[in-house]
């Protein structure tokens, strides 16, 4: 093993024959009895060559993560069992190795990075120790050498001031820095294979672009084979040499990135690529004359302030936000995490109290109203949250969730129930399904239920706070369509909060770009996408993955 990376990287021309690092043949993993299907993955075959990035693409439940965990030998033993096939890694079948043999290879010859850099690092251990742990397990370096190696790899993954960061804890770092630490852990021993399980899904676009670049760079320099799991075709377009498409545990199509993205042959792949929203907004008629449903003037929210014995520390989550949403219009607020977009949404609904400025619902100013006076305005603004798995009470039937709001405002139970059944049909679900519990629905169905719950209050303003961000692309497309449909049907003013530019391009009439609590740019969606004025907006657009490809999802605007 050499101390650093070889200085001359392998030339990865398309013609060079690559040494195969990983060769999965006919892998089948059995699900426990009583699951919705027999096998988590069935007859999966794929190869990864040295210095090659192979993307496994698929929606949730496609078996892409199970495949990755089987290779690592990290499947939950009692629940999932490989029953057929081979996993040839550098020529030897991993499925025949003992637990100890596998353990010796993990972290050294094959390593893995995960989706959530927030939770994948041990919160009570310094990041230096977490990288050093890999060395402790697999090598017998002394303290000095160990620290040297840790500092080297931290430098290689472009962490600023590695010496100072050595003793930092994960919570003191940003999401991007944490993912760099994870990558450092994975690559410190120069493995032959790196498995990356959605490593950028939880990151902001600009950070995502940096991390993708880093993975590519490190892998090219060291000739590492990479198995990259993702659901995002934009990411695939940016990083993949070859692509394997999975659906319900089976490989439906595989080929070079260009083949799959430009000429997909399987209908499922075609549908997936067709569902990716385009970055080109459709033409939309401006709504200058519709009445204003929601307006904020100088809205601001400052957190913190002095407490007993405490130093003053304030955070301006949002400053001087002026927005107008007309009836029948969708205003998008676009920004990265910490930009203040959700703060604005929560202030408008008065889930949190703004510290400055005014909020007008039609003509009523509600920013400073007391809880009791606010009550009658509550039903006029409704919100749909990001995570449909956590925003429905798991112990209540869907009916109870939907009718709770109207009944609080004096609607009789029978009327509310009748309305709930009507709304279920409207959002594309069976009216009889109201008697079921949230866990009996899929993510997309739950988000439909959340929309029905919001509509039950007959609001004027609907706020969607990252309402489609947790959904698979095909489901996302359907829910976006539903949101657009209810906007038209009820002439709703919609405030659409998202970090996803593709989604914003497709659904918003106008967009506002927020950065560090301030609105940096505002205009009609077509205008902003065609000619972004501010540097930040340009940087944001440049970071959007897969710009080079035109994906299919352009929907007809009205």
């Amino acid at each position: 093993m050499t101390g650093g990376a070889p200085m001359t990287g392998p030339t990865n021309g398309p013609m060079t024959e690559r040494r195969t690092v990983l060769d999965v043949r006919g892998l089948t993993v059995r699900l426990p009895d009583g699951a919705d299907r027999r096998h988590a993955v069935e007859d999966v075959s794929l190869t990864v060559g040295a210095g090659e990035i192979v993307c496994i693409v698929g929606e949730s439940g496609s078996g892409k993560s199970v495949t990755a965990f089987t290779v690592m030998g990290l499947l939950p033993k009692q629940q999932l069992r490989p029953v057929a096939g081979q996993i040839l890694f550098e020529g030897a079948d991993l499925l025949t190795k003992s637990a100890a043999e596998l353990r010796a290879m993990r972290g050294e010859r094959l390593s893995m990075i995960f989706q959530e850099p927030m939770t994948a690092l041990n919160p009570v251990m310094t990041v230096g120790d977490q990288i050093g742990e890999v060395l402790d397990i697999h090598t017998s370096l002394d303290r000095g050498e160990r620290e040297q190696r840790v500092l080297e790899i931290m430098d290689l993954v472009r962490l600023p001031d590695p010496k100072a960061m050595l003793n930092a804890y994960p919570h003191q770092l940003s999401g991007g820095q944490r993912q760099r630490i994870m990558i450092a852990c994975a690559l410190v021993l120069d493995p032959a294979l790196l498995i990356a399980d959605e490593p950028t899904t939880a990151l902001d676009v600009t950070t995502q672009a940096q991390i993708l670049k880093l993975i590519k760079e490190m892998q090219e320099r060291r000739g590492t084979g990479v198995l990259f799991i993702t659901h995002d075709f934009g990411v695939v377009a940016d990083i993949a040499d070859r692509v394997v498409v999975m659906q319900r545990g089976r490989v439906v199509e595989s080929g070079t990135a260009d083949e799959i993205l430009r000429r997909p042959s399987h209908p499922y792949t075609q549908m997936l690529i067709g569902s990716v929203p385009s970055l080109h907004p459709p033409a939309r008629a401006p709504l200058h004359h519709a009445p204003v449903a929601l307006e904020t003037r100088g809205l601001g929210k400052t957190y913190g302030g002095g407490g007993f014995f405490r130093k003053d520390r304030t955070v301006k989550a949002a400053t001087d936000v002026n927005l107008v949403v007309r009836k029948g219009e969708t205003l998008g607020i676009v920004g990265e995490s910490g930009s203040g977009k959700s703060t604005v949404a929560r202030c408008v609904v008065r889930l949190i109290d703004p510290t400055e400025g005014e909020i007008y619902l039609h003509d009523a100013e509600v920013a400073k109203l007391s809880a009791s006076l606010l009550r009658k305005h509550r039903k006029r603004v409704q919100i749909v949250f990001q995570d449909p798995y956590r925003s429905l009470n798991p112990r209540q039937t869907v009916a109870e969730s939907i009718i709770e709001g109207p009944m609080n405002f004096g609607v009789s139970r029978a009327d509310a129930l009748a309305k709930a059944r009507e709304l279920m049909t409207l959002v594309g679900l069976e009216p009889d399904a109201v008697d079921r519990y949230p866990h009996q629905f899929s993510g997309g169905q739950r988000q439909r239920i959340c929309i029905a719950r919001a509509l039950a209050m007959e609001p004027d303003v609907l706020i969607a706070d990252e309402a489609v961000s947790a959904l698979d692309v095909s489901v996302q497309a359907q829910v976006l369509e539903l949101l657009d449909d209810v906007r038209k049907r009820f002439n709703l003013a919609v405030l659409f909060i998202t970090h996803d530019l593709r989604v914003a391009a497709q659904i918003c009439d106008r967009i506002m770009v927020m950065h560090k609590g301030k609105v940096v740019e505002e205009g009609s969606t077509a205008e902003v996408f065609a000619n972004p004025r501010e540097d930040y907006t340009k940087a944001l657009f440049d970071a959007a993955p897969g710009r080079g490809y035109e994906f299919g999802g352009v929907r007809a605007a009205e």
């Binding site: 290879m105 995960f114 994948a120 041990n122 009570v124 697999h138 007993f308 014995f309």
Partner: protein
């Protein structure tokens, strides 16, 4: 860190003052003339007057409070009505056995319970896990005095391995000390072992589901270290909370245990003082225990920040 400890220490002052005020008012708010209550049913008017003067009850309440606080600050908790000894001296005499019993119990319980709970979590669903949990239920259910008498019957009367009762200070020889403390500490520990083992199991079980445990395994870490290095420390905050609460609740158990094993500790002092209505002792003990609790809370808060770098007050 020191800033934090200093800030927290200063913040305990108002709490102590409130406690002192409540303790002071207990005597003044009890029905009737406290001097009459203290003197008992058969006291002469002269006795009552003497007690009243001794307690300073003939002066205005505000003045009484101020002078009482003044004496408290100097470490003067008053004088016992019956033995005429300073309360501080009485507490001092009885402190060691109680402290030693509590300490032995806590250390023993933690040393047994934390590994037991951690292993149960690690092997959750197996017979090891189920056995630990059944033992825990037993530990919860058997009252300390019942267990105490059983232990005495078994180990002292039948096997004659250990003394039946009494207390020996570590100064008299460490072996002798442990022989005497073993049974009372053992009886007292059952409940705490059950409590701490259960919370350890629950807490470790939750932590074992975390992503960073998977990360540790992906690094090739062996299971024992996954459990010790990664899981246990992350699971420690709720465990420490329960240990702290347990120590606070220990006092009740100590009173009973000291009676069962005839140990001359604070528990016995409390019981005797209440039976004799020796108010200065009762007040002194309440203050003393409150002070201990406050100190304990401070200690636990400090331990939190050591265990989890994310916790900063």
């Amino acid at each position: 860190m020191w800033m934090f400890i200093g800030r927290r220490a200063v913040a305990t002052i108002p709490v102590m003052l409130v406690v002192a005020f409540v303790v002071f008012m207990i005597l003044r708010l009890s029905p009737g003339d406290p001097a009459t209550v203290i003197a008992g049913d058969y006291a002469s008017p002269a006795d009552i007057a003497r007690i009243r003067a001794q307690l300073g009850l003939d002066q205005p309440v505000a003045l009484q409070f101020v002078s009482w606080i003044g004496r408290l600050v100097q470490g003067d908790l008053g004088i016992s009505i019956f033995s005429n000894l300073p309360v501080t001296t009485l507490i001092g005499q009885r402190l060691e056995p109680t402290l030693m019993l509590s300490l032995t119990t806590v250390v023993f319980s933690v040393l047994v319970a934390v590994p037991l709970g951690a292993v149960a979590a690690w092997k959750s669903g197996t017979w090891i896990d189920r056995t630990v949990m059944v033992v825990a239920v037993l530990g919860f259910s058997v009252p300390v005095f019942v267990l105490g008498y059983f232990l005495v019957y078994g180990f002292s009367l039948e096997l004659k391995w250990l003394p039946v009762q009494g207390y020996k200070s570590p100064a008299d020889g460490i072996g002798l000390f442990f022989r005497h403390i073993a049974l009372p500490a053992g009886a007292l520990s059952a409940f705490y072992i059950a409590l701490v083992a259960r919370i350890t199991r629950a807490s470790v079980l939750e932590v074992l589901e975390e992503d960073y445990i998977r990360t540790a395994r992906a690094k090739g870490q062996v299971e024992s270290k996954v459990l010790l290095v990664h899981a246990l420390r992350n699971a420690s905050v709720p465990i420490v909370t329960v240990i702290g609460l347990g120590i606070a609740a220990l006092i009740g158990g100590v009173v009973i245990t000291e009676s069962v094993f005839n140990i001359p500790g604070l528990g016995r002092l409390v019981v005797d003082a209440i039976l004799k209505r020796d108010y200065p002792i009762i007040q002194g003990l309440i203050l003393f225990f409150s002070f201990l609790y406050i100190l304990l809370n401070l200690l636990i808060d400090i331990v939190y920040t050591v265990l989890d770098p994310r916790i900063r007050y």
